[in-house]
């Protein structure tokens, strides 16, 4: 028998695309909330997200019934419900490996903390960088990652190393018992099954732009 859950997951297999859209809904809903809107229908939210209204209702239905028939969704409640469903209703402690240009930019990116991701450790293997202060954090030697992660009870890791060092960074994170990795390095990494990896690769997006523009031009 499965353990009792914090929220009602109606199905085991939630499409990956649904999760991505939920993150989008939160973004758009928080915008609407700031603007003072209190209630919204799936139709209007759909328009703002450029998706189909049924899509939104289906996506939400995986987690529960958050709407009111004849009325729509109370925005504040819905934001709360989605955030709880996604597990972002609390702060996630995060470490970053690779203090290059991109790493620095992310460490200085205030939005991370704002969105519930608190980067509490910065690591690099370059002796010239170790000891440096970046955005209020002292850059530490990657060898000390495991120790620090245990000390501070960290859950997530971000890799911003050059591609050739991404696998080593991943190994350190796995060794430190981190179960979620966001990899910005343009390189595949191999990790055990229980570690979940997300890739952010700008070039894949640039390639996609190039392709679609080329296609359009040829028409």
């Amino acid at each position: 028998m499965p353990p009792k859950q914090l929220y009602s997951l109606k199905s085991e297999n939630i499409p990956r695309a649904t999760i991505q859209r939920l993150a989008l809904y939160v973004q758009v809903l928080e915008d609407l909330d700031r603007q003072g809107t209190e209630v919204i229908s799936s139709e209007l939210l759909a328009k703002a997200c450029t998706v189909n209204p049924s899509q939104i209702r289906k996506d939400l239905a995986y987690f529960g019934e958050f709407g009111v028939r004849g009325v729509g969704y109370y925005i504040k409640d819905l934001i709360g419900a989605i955030k709880q469903s996604l597990g972002v209703d609390h702060v996630w402690k995060t470490v970053l490996v690779g203090v290059g240009n991109l790493g620095r930019a992310l460490l200085n990116h205030a939005e991370f903390r704002l969105r519930g991701f608190d980067i509490i450790g910065a690591f690099d293997c370059d002796p010239f960088k170790i000891g440096e202060q970046v955005s209020g954090l002292e850059v530490l030697c990657t060898k000390r990652l495991k120790e620090k992660v245990h000390e501070l009870d960290v859950n997530l890791g971000i890799i911003t190393t050059p591609p050739e060092r991404a696998q080593r960074a991943a190994n350190h994170l796995v060794e430190a018992n981190i179960h979620g990795i966001l990899n910005f390095a343009p390189a595949r990494i191999t990790v055990p099954d229980y570690v979940y990896v997300e890739y952010v690769d700008f070039f894949h997006h640039m390639y996609s732009l190039a392709f679609h523009i080329t296609l359009e031009k040829e028409r």
Copy 2:
């Protein structure tokens, strides 16, 4: 009758996922090429990309027949074929709007030029930033974007402004007749149909990590 094409597109409707995977194949293939491998089967490439071998063959089949039965794919040839299919066999001139932490990091990111995306203009509306030199470029006022884009024949735009200024940046890019936009700002933007937009939102990925880890813990 459609105009003659540079490469043989077998179908009009190529899945978006296929394009993303092709970019991944190029990445992995270039790695293999650097390591000196000359030929690879769909099975081995599939393993390296963690996808299904038929998937690879199907993806490639949209563009042509690049393999040799009984042998596999010649890596150098395949890289060339995919790059040509995607339209990344030549340099794409690119401008960037929003010279904040992230913008600076991208301007300093040598890999962009290496991968065929040459960022030749940096724009911002902050008078304190205008005139500053970043990675060999003078930061210009966003008002001069149109003029510069025409002068230099630019095709792609990157938005790295704060979310509240993303739409204005997009308007400037559309005005300058740019047809492809990579938007790093965590905000939806509205553009005409003929403009293709790709979104890069770190937080969507962070949310996804949070969700999958939460799910795993509850099991």
